[in-house]
Structures are given as C-alpha cells and as structure tokens.
C-alpha cells in the first residue's frame, strides 16, 4: 500500500494537476470515519464492550493497531480490520482519534472504592487515569471493557510486562478497579 502511495505521488507530480485532481494522499479523517460504525462518531463509543477511542493517547492507539495487525493482541474483529491498513495509515488513524474530544462512558459504575485501590496504576496511567506518555487513558472508559482488558492481562492473553502486577489480584478487585476508573470524569 505504501509503495502504491509513493508511486501515485510520483505520477501525480509528473503528470500534473489533471491526474492529481483525483489522487490524494491518505488522510486520517477519510480512513477513520468508517470506524464510527462500531466505535461511535469520532470514537466516542456509546456501547458497553467496544471501547471509547476518541481522545485516547496517540501512541497507545498506534501500538494497539500495530499489535492487532500482527496478531499479538487479542481482539478478533480488530485483528481482521487492522490488517486493512498500512503502518503509516494506522498512525494517521491513531493521530486522528487522538485529536478528538474524550466523551466519558454513559455506563459508569458508581464506585465506593478510595483512590488507594489504584495507587499502583497512577505512575503510568496518570494521577486521574488520564493517561501519560504512551500509556492509555482509562478514566471514563467503559467499565466492562476495562474489566475485560484487565482479565486479558491477568491471564496473559494480552502480554505486557508492565501489567503483570494484576496477575496476583483476584477478579473482584479487578472489577472494582474497572468500575472505579469508569466513574472518573
């Protein structure tokens, strides 16, 4: 795909404006609009399982797409779809969604847990779960999705040395953490 894009660009430069009139470099918006069918307009997913991606950390989205497309990360739909896009296109899609406003989950679960519950999470995920560096935002994400993710890390289905710390936690605690973060706005 990248080679095709380069070839087309070279052709458009030599052939001039008539050809270039219909050929354009891939752009994030055009590639990303189709994602809304499952992830909601601008990635503000209103569902329960399919995650909010609008306003998520750019580098994390890039990493997720790369891991889906190399079958490193579980996710049967995304393992298929991500393979439809080159690495460069995946970066454009990630960058597009990162610029969108984060819309908190409509399915937040009220949590009575104190901030102490997630003290080990703040270092990477930020003091309010807003994300840091290439670590994703978890605050205001769907609780079911967060819980499923934590279970994937716990069982080693999603590999991450940094997330190994959840392996010694029981499922109830993981659920509590998911609920806690879902409710942060």
């Amino acid at each position: 795909m990248l080679r095709m894009t380069i070839l087309l660009l070279m052709m458009s430069l030599t052939l001039g404006s008539a050809f270039a009139a219909t050929i354009e470099q891939a752009d994030g918006a055009r590639l990303s609009r189709t994602c809304a069918g499952c992830h909601g307009t601008d990635g503000a997913s209103p569902g329960k399982e399919i995650p909010i991606i609008g306003g998520q950390i750019d580098k994390y989205l890039q990493k997720a797409l790369a891991e889906f497309s190399t079958d490193k990360r579980p996710g049967d739909v995304m393992r298929n779809l991500s393979k439809g896009y080159s690495v460069d296109e995946q970066k454009q899609i990630a960058a597009y969604f990162a610029t969108k406003p984060w819309v908190n989950t409509p399915h937040a679960v009220k949590s009575n847990a104190g901030a102490n519950l997630v003290k080990s999470c703040k270092g990477c995920h930020g003091s309010m779960g807003e994300g840091r560096g290439s670590f994703p935002r978890v605050a205001g994400q769907h609780p079911d999705y967060l819980y499923q993710s934590l279970l994937e890390y716990k069982h080693g289905d999603r590999s991450s040395s940094l997330m190994k710390l959840v392996r010694k936690l029981d499922d109830a605690t993981l659920k509590e953490m998911a609920d806690y973060y879902s409710a942060i706005k």
């Binding site: 095709m4 609009r33 069918g37 307009t41 399982e49 399919i50 298929n80 393979k83």
Partner: protein, 421 residues
C-alpha cells in the same frame, strides 16, 4: 443508454426550498445545497456527515417515512428479543444539526435543470445523493399478486411487515410449520436470512414445541458465513431446521397458502418469502439503472452515477460490479454515505475529492446470546480503477460467542448514533 426523466410541473414552491432560475451553476449564484433522498443507513449518514465536515453547506433530506426503522436488529424483534420501538428512531437529531428534513416521496428528476420532483413539489440541488434501497422482483414468481404479498410477508424492509411476521410467529400453534425462502443473486444483507432462520429456530424450540422451520435456499450451501451458521445449526437446531438447497421457487398460491418449486409444493402455517431483489424504485424513476438491468452503476472513486451526472448513488442500490465488492450491508451503506459526503463537500468547495475508503463489520446472532461476524476493508486501486477488497482484513469470525453477541448490541447503538444523532 442515458435516460432522462423529465416531469413538468408548475412552479409550486416548497416553502423553505426556494426556487432559483434553472441554471443553478450560473455565475454569481453562491448557493451550496446538497439534497439527499432516502433516510436510511446511506442517506441519513450522508446528510449528517456533510454537516460534520462543512456545516455551511445547506443539506435537505427527503424521506417518505416518518421515522427510520432499522432492518439490522429487526430479526431480533421478530422473536421478541427487542421491540419495534428499539429499532425506530426519528429524524430530530438530524434536524437539530440544521438539516432540513422533508417528508415526501421523490418520483422524478430533471438533472439538467438540477431538481428532483417530489409528490409535494420540486427541490433544487447543487449536488444530489440518493440512497434508494431495494425492491423485490415479484415478476419472477407466478401468482405473486397483491393478496400473495399480504399472505407471504418478506419483512425485509423493517416496518409493518416486521410486526406482521412477529405476530404470525407468536400465533403459531405448537407443532406448526414455518417456511422461509432465501433470495438468489445479489440481495440485501447476505447473512440476513440465515440469522433470521437461527433466531426463529430457537424461538420455535423454546416456545412452540414440535414446530419445524423449512428453509428453501436456491444456493448450493449457506451463502454467507456458511461454516459458522452450519456449525451453530448442527449444534442447536437439528430437531427444528429442515434446510433445503438448490430450491428455485416457481410459483405461489395465496389462497392455498402454498409455495411451489418446479418439483414440489410446500404448505406452511407461516410463510416468510424473501424474493430476489433489485434497486429500489427510486433508482429506476430517476434513470439511474440501465435498460434491463437491476442495479445502479457508479464511479468507484466518487460513487457518482455513470448515467446521470451530479447524482451520487449509495447503499444497497449500487451495482457492485462498479462500486466494488462491498456487500450490501448497513455498515457499507453508512461507509458509502461518508464517501459521498466528503466527495460532494470537496466538489462544492472547488477541492479535489478525497480517495474513498470503505469498511464492513457485520454481526449475526445464531441464538439469543451468541453471534458470529464478518469484517471487510475496501480501498481504491488506481491500477484497475476499481475499489478492491483487502483480503487480510476481510474474514469471518473464528467462531461464535456471547461476547460477539454483546458487541452486536454495541454495533447498533454506535451506528445509529453515527447516522441519526
């Protein structure tokens, strides 16, 4: 062969749709108006996305029904998993975005003068997007008169027939028979009939002990997500489903309530007849379908009609030999709506139309909780001047699961808000 539909009417105004002179492209005219006809998965998306991309463009949506009723998820309504109100959404969300929603039926066009003719009056456009949906080829079946249409509902356009079929299933006596036919050739939603069969089979098992579901399929095997449906049917429904392949329906008899192939006559208590299909009547009325053809050909880059310039055709009505190997699905219509929106915005702004990008993700329930899916990514290939399927991205699910079933629910919530909010 280009056919020009020209219907002369008096210059009856349509209230807010003011009339300009016939040459809307004359110098000095600075209106930028897109008219979208059809408020389904394609049209509603197109209208909404034009506003999202450039809110300064005037958008008029002409739709003949009061509200949007979704075909996807309507199978769930048939068996009581959802209600009609769960799949029906009004157009208030679009109106709140400044889209003028007009309830009318478009019956003609004058592309040279730049207007569509509705039953209530004419509406001028600078660009036109039509999403005509499908209609049924009753002409292929002997005896499919108006009485037959009442007795053998298709329930393949969500609405009153969905309610009718649901009520017929509810009224079925235990031990009764349900019969459904699968369409041949290109038809809307390839897995649709099989999802319906799966859900009806479970419904009969749970609620109408001893009942059977006969499926008459013209194909040699299940035409979509075949292995996955077969696995589910073998696991769950061997006592209910009687699946027959290579069955071509020749005639129906409304009075006797029978369906006949060339070899056999079938009688049943509830008959769901899903006929072969073609583009919606609107596509034919607007001259978008060539003589003796069934679907509307379009240019792959812009989805503009190859017969009528300035008119973009999206959704199930498109001829996939021209638009690309995308299946006739709601997700694809939604994706085409976005391509058409981006294209007309670019054209009206004197900019280059962006490359198209299409995708498909489609879940089918195999029972009340488990689903299977298929995905697809489609892109423009300059070497062949066609939209092509990216094979690595276009596959079915490895199996069935409750998790996919829950995602199916999310899919509906997301896509409906992406179309209508």
């Amino acid at each position: 062969m280009k056919r020009r539909n020209f219907i002369k009417y008096g210059a009856v105004g349509m209230g807010a749709a003011s009339l300009y002179g016939p040459n809307v492209f004359a110098a000095g005219h600075n209106r930028r108006r897109v008219v979208v006809v059809g408020g389904g998965y394609g049209g509603a998306t197109a209208a909404r996305y034009i506003k999202l991309i450039d809110s300064s463009i005037e958008v008029i949506l002409i739709e003949k029904n009061d509200q949007f009723v979704s075909c996807p998820i309507s199978n769930w309504v048939l068996v009581g998993m959802k209600k009609m109100s769960d799949i029906s959404i009004g157009y208030e969300g679009l109106a709140a975005r400044g889209i003028q929603v007009i309830k009318d039926e478009v019956i003609g066009i004058d592309a040279a003068a730049g207007y569509v003719q509705g039953k209530k009056g004419r509406v001028e456009y600078d660009r036109l997007i039509v999403s005509p949906g499908i209609d049924f080829r009753y002409d292929l079946i002997d005896g499919f008169n108006n009485e037959a249409k009442k007795v053998f509902p298709h329930a393949y356009k969500a609405g009153p027939q969905t309610v009718q079929l649901q009520q017929e299933l509810q009224a079925l006596q235990p031990g009764g028979t349900v019969l459904m036919t699968v369409p041949d050739n290109a038809y809307r939603c390839p897995p649709g009939p099989y999802e319906r069969a799966s859900l009806i089979a479970e419904y009969l098992q749970k609620n109408k002990k001893g009942s059977k579901l006969i499926i008459l399929d013209p194909h040699q095997k299940i035409a979509s997500k075949g292995k996955l449906f077969k696995a589910a049917w073998d696991a769950y429904y061997t006592d209910v489903i009687d699946y027959r392949t290579e069955e071509i329906i020749a005639s129906v008899d409304a009075k006797k309530k029978t369906i006949s192939t060339y070899e056999e006559e079938f009688k049943a208590d509830v008959i769901n007849f899903i006929p072969d299909q073609k583009a919606g009547k609107l596509a034919f009325d607007l001259g978008l379908v060539p003589e003796k053809k069934l679907w509307a050909p379009v240019k792959p880059l812009t989805l503009e009609s190859t017969l009528v310039p300035g008119v973009h055709v999206i959704g199930d009505a498109t001829d996939s030999l021209t638009s690309g190997p995308m299946p006739k699905s709601g997700f694809v219509a939604n994706s085409m709506g976005k391509v058409a929106a981006a294209t007309v915005v670019a054209e009206l702004s004197g900019k280059k139309a962006p490359l198209p990008s299409f995708a498909n993700t489609c879940y089918s329930m195999v029972n009340g909780t488990e689903a299977i899916f298929v995905t697809g990514v489609y892109k423009y290939d300059a070497a062949t001047d066609k939209n092509i399927k990216i094979k690595e991205a276009s596959k079915t699910s490895p199996g069935r699961s409750d998790y996919y079933g829950r995602c199916a629910e999310d899919w509906a919530t997301s896509i409906w808000s992406d179309m209508l909010s």
